[in-house]
Structures are given as structure tokens and as C-alpha cells.
């Protein structure tokens, strides 16, 4: 494993574990402190992780908007698990959070057309039987063209 790969793995795990523990994104400086690296070095790691589609950054290159399935900003997709509240980037990621945590969770969202609330219990083996549906407007080839829209 190269020096870059080791650093990128450490940065990625620090970011994801922070999200998992708190439901919030860590500041770049906090990640730098955790991995014992200079902020500029971590900023470069953020850029490589963005290129690898592991992180999605705000325009400043420092602020994490998404570490899929986790969202740093509030959305209509809430997940409660282990006493922590998380926001998911989309419906897919709403189920992705309990999958990543490997914990039972409750997903709360809504039907985008009728606004009917969704409350879905998700166990270690997934949600129970549900006739709710998922719809994705953007084809797979273009998911990262505009990830916020996707």
C-alpha cells in the first residue's frame, strides 16, 4: 500500500467513523488531528477520495457534504439508530445507513408525491415486507454528474 493509499484509508475511516458515532461530518482540521497530518495533506486526501467517489465535497474542497450513505446536511430522509439521528442523501442511502452501521434502525421519510410519511423498521436482515417503492430519475451512467440532484 502506497503512502497515499495509507493516508486516504485513514482519512476515509476517520470521516466515516465520525459520521457513524455522531451523525455529523467532521471538520477537516479534526480529521487532520486524528490522522496526525497537516491540514493541507488531508485536503489533498479529500480530493483523491472525491475522485474515487467516496466523498462529495462543497466547493471549498474542505467541507464534506456527503460521505455516502451519510449526509452532512439535513434531508427528508432521517435514520435513527443506537440513539443517534442521521440524515441520508437519498432513499437508497436511507437503507444504506443501517447497512453500513450493521445495526437495527428506523427510517423515516415520505412519499415524494403524496407526502404520506414513511416509517420503516430495518433489522439486521433488512426491512420487513413493505410495498413502498423506489424511483431513480437519473440513469446510472450519470449519477455523479450532479450528485445533489441525483
Amino acid at each position: 500500500m502506497s503512502i497515499h493509499e495509507e493516508l486516504d484509508t485513514a482519512v476515509k475511516l476517520t470521516v466515516y467513523r465520525h459520521f457513524a458515532e455522531s451523525g455529523t461530518s467532521p471538520a477537516l482540521e479534526a480529521v487532520a488531528s486524528e490522522v496526525e497530518a497537516e491540514p493541507g495533506v488531508v485536503r489533498s486526501a479529500f480530493a483523491r477520495l472525491r475522485a474515487a467517489r467516496v466523498l462529495f465535497l462543497e466547493g471549498d474542497g474542505d467541507t464534506i457534504r456527503m460521505a455516502p450513505p451519510f449526509s452532512a446536511v439535513e434531508t427528508q430522509h432521517f435514520v435513527e439508530s443506537g440513539g443517534v439521528i442521521y440524515f441520508a442523501n437519498c432513499a437508497w442511502d436511507a437503507l444504506g445507513i443501517p447497512a453500513a452501521l450493521r445495526q437495527e434502525a428506523t427510517v423515516r421519510s415520505r412519499c415524494e408525491q403524496t407526502r404520506e410519511p414513511l416509517r420503516l423498521a430495518v433489522g439486521l436482515d433488512g426491512p420487513g415486507v413493505s410495498d413502498w417503492l423506489f424511483h431513480c430519475l437519473v440513469p446510472a451512467a450519470h449519477w455523479w454528474d450532479d450528485l445533489v440532484f441525483t
Partner: protein, 79 residues
């Protein structure tokens, strides 16, 4: 990527916005996607599936066709 209560709701939402109706995914299929993409995300060895792996993953969940192909050019215009 949104939740809907029914196929009727999906069709209504798309029609009101002049969007095409795309393949409809069940909750069981969605859990398969979520688990495949994210179950190792907090682990050292985690990685996002590569584009050439995605087609097989989607097909294994019954999601086939150009819409689910990350390399497809039939959707070159996107949205």
C-alpha cells in the same frame, strides 16, 4: 432517488414534472442495493463497486438494461 407509496404516485410525480418514468424498484431490491454498496463502508477494506461490477450486481437484483449500466451511452444526454 426517492420513496413513493405506489406506482400511481410515481407516474403522477413524473407526469407533473414532465420526467420519464424510470424502472421501478421494490423495497426488497433497494435493500439489496444498500447492503451491497454500504455494508463494508466502515471497514478498512471497503470500496465502492467498480463500474464493470455494477452491471452484475444490478442484474443479480433483477435490475437490467441500459438504465442500470454505468457505461451505457444510450443515456448520453442524461437528465
Amino acid at each position: 432517488m426517492l420513496f413513493f407509496r405506489s406506482e400511481e404516485a410515481i407516474h403522477g410525480w413524473c407526469e407533473e414534472r414532465d420526467h420519464p418514468v424510470r424502472p421501478i424498484v421494490t423495497m426488497e431490491q433497494l435493500w439489496g442495493l444498500a447492503r451491497t454498496w454500504y455494508s463494508t463502508r466502515l471497514q478498512v477494506e471497503s470500496r465502492r463497486p467498480a463500474p464493470d461490477e455494477m452491471v452484475g450486481i444490478f442484474a443479480g437484483l433483477g435490475l437490467e438494461g441500459a438504465f442500470w449500466d454505468p457505461a451505457a451511452d444510450s443515456f448520453a444526454g442524461g437528465e
